[in-house]
């Protein structure tokens, strides 16, 4: 069964909070670049970690449209559904 967008979003937040440099008050609406101070390489590397959790690969062009944690969760969910 494919996890819901909410489940994936919660998993992403849990992963992010494992990094002590990430602000503690993030939620699904937090902006990945602005609020988390990730540069483009950090975003790509973080997405790589998440990909393995739910067994999908995210093409780099999809990252251009992602601003918030919920956007990323939505993208991963859509890819997972398409792959199922």
């Amino acid at each position: 069964m494919t996890d819901s967008v909410t489940d994936i979003s919660a998993m992403i937040i849990e992963k992010l909070l494992a990094n002590p440099k990430v602000p503690r008050d993030i939620d699904g609406n937090s902006k990945i670049v602005e609020d988390l101070a990730f540069d483009s390489l950090a975003v790509m590397n973080f997405v790589m970690e998440i990909e393995d959790e739910i067994d999908v690969s995210v093409p780099l062009d999809k990252l251009a449209d992602i601003r918030t944690i919920n956007d990323l969760a939505g993208c991963l969910h859509a890819l997972k559904v398409a792959q199922a």
């Binding site: 390489l41 590397n45 093409p59 780099l60 792959q83």
Partner: protein
């Protein structure tokens, strides 16, 4: 009026912070002139060069210099045109034939730079319906080629065949062509790719494999054909890309392959078509340097010995280097401030290396990238190691 440079505010802040604490701008080092392949004049002082890509020392090849001079005198200094218009001289065709023969391939295309060789090959091979699988630590020219191609790009973990295979398995129902891209030696770390394992994987999954041997051409393998030659997997590599600007000491790039379809690349590879071709004296110097490289296999042996000497020396001095012994030996430091201070101290003590900063480095950590040449003497390498050790002790590392 909107400030067109406003988007660079973050870059400006980082640049100002870096140059404020550094006695010199690390991005504006001037080599006033080379004294030899291994020594240059920087800030008026003779400085040991441990930050070039002149692996075989052939930028100073007498044979290449003479070939360039003679050709400039007889043919002029430029072509003023694209390869598909007035920019193909007999020499361009001759160099392509020589390189095809050297690599034992049917076809060769020569590009005006190594950057354009990656841009032009990748963008001509795949389009939006295809998938590119790139090693996560790929060079900017590979990422830029990917962007120009419009293909879907999936990164796999650096040098990780298991991760690559997992990603290919997820794509099993994708209808497009799949092209895997890896480098022979990675320019920042000196890591060597497991190309033989990638060949097994691409064969099982019906993908193509392109190897960028920019830093390994002339450097690795009994004949200098790169990492694929060392690992005995050349037949499984569909496209080999590389540059003349490292081991051959000139400028330009190439793609060699056995696929006949490559001929049409000359009519659809924009970085090949819409730029001036290499000047004749550069082509002549490149052919002469290629001959020098083939006539002197001992340069490769010397290079490997020198690489091992520098690698072992830096490790013995307690510095953190990569595991691979290759002509690129990178010392990893923890902070940018530390790396900038270390780099300045090395230069002030007569050793030039490359300061490489995130995000151009893996793992977000700065590197002091050293490159070894066949032209370095054992004494020059020992001197560089001594200076590294003294500076490390000075900073309490």
């Amino acid at each position: 009026m909107i400030d067109i440079f406003a988007k660079h505010a973050g870059l400006r802040e980082a640049y100002d912070a870096l140059t404020a604490t550094s006695p010199r701008n690390p991005f504006e080092v001037v080599i006033e002139r080379p004294v030899s392949a291994s020594v240059g004049i920087i800030e008026g002082r003779e400085t040991l060069l441990f930050g070039t890509n002149n692996y075989l020392g052939l930028s100073q090849s007498k044979k290449a210099i003479e070939a360039a001079v003679e050709t400039a005198e007889t043919m002029g200094v430029g072509t003023t045109g694209s390869r598909i218009a007035n920019g193909t001289f007999g020499l361009h065709r001759k160099l392509e034939a020589r390189l095809a023969e050297f690599f034992r391939r049917k076809h060769c295309m020569v590009f005006s730079t190594g950057y354009q060789a990656n841009l032009g090959t990748i963008s001509a091979l795949v389009n939006k319906d295809d998938i590119l699988l790139l090693d996560a630590d790929s060079h900017a020219s590979i990422y830029d080629g990917a962007k120009l191609s419009g293909a879907q790009v999936i990164r796999f973990r650096h040098n990780d065949p298991v991760d690559l295979e997992k990603r290919l398995a997820r794509l099993k129902d994708h209808p497009g062509a799949k092209l895997i891209v890896a480098e022979g030696i990675y320019s920042m770390t000196g890591n060597v790719a497991p190309l033989d394992k990638f060949v097994d994987i691409k064969t099982r999954h019906g993908a193509y494999l392109m190897a960028d041997e920019a830093h390994s051409f002339g450097v690795m393998g009994a004949h200098g054909r790169g990492v694929a030659e060392v690992q005995g997997c050349e037949d499984g590599i569909d496209f080999v890309v590389g540059t003349f600007s490292k081991s051959l000491g000139t400028v330009g790039g190439y793609c060699v392959t056995d696929h006949d379809g490559v001929d049409l690349m000359r009519l659809c590879s924009r970085p090949y078509m819409f730029t001036a071709s290499l000047p004749p004296e550069i082509i002549a110097a490149t052919m002469a340097a290629l001959e020098d490289m083939q006539d002197h296999p001992e340069l490769r042996t010397k290079l490997q010995d020198n690489a091992a000497r520098l690698h072992a020396g830096l490790q013995k001095a307690g510095l953190k280097t990569g595991a691979h012994i290759s002509p690129v030996v990178a010392v990893t430091l923890e902070t940018v401030d530390q790396a900038v201070a270390f780099w300045n101290a090395l230069l002030e003590n007569g050793v030039y290396v490359n300061l490489s900063l995130p995000p151009a480095t893996p793992d977000n950590r700065p590197l002091l990238r050293c490159s070894v040449m066949a032209a370095h003497s054992p004494e020059e390498i020992d001197r560089a190691v001594t200076v590294f050790g003294e500076v490390a002790r000075h900073f309490g590392l």
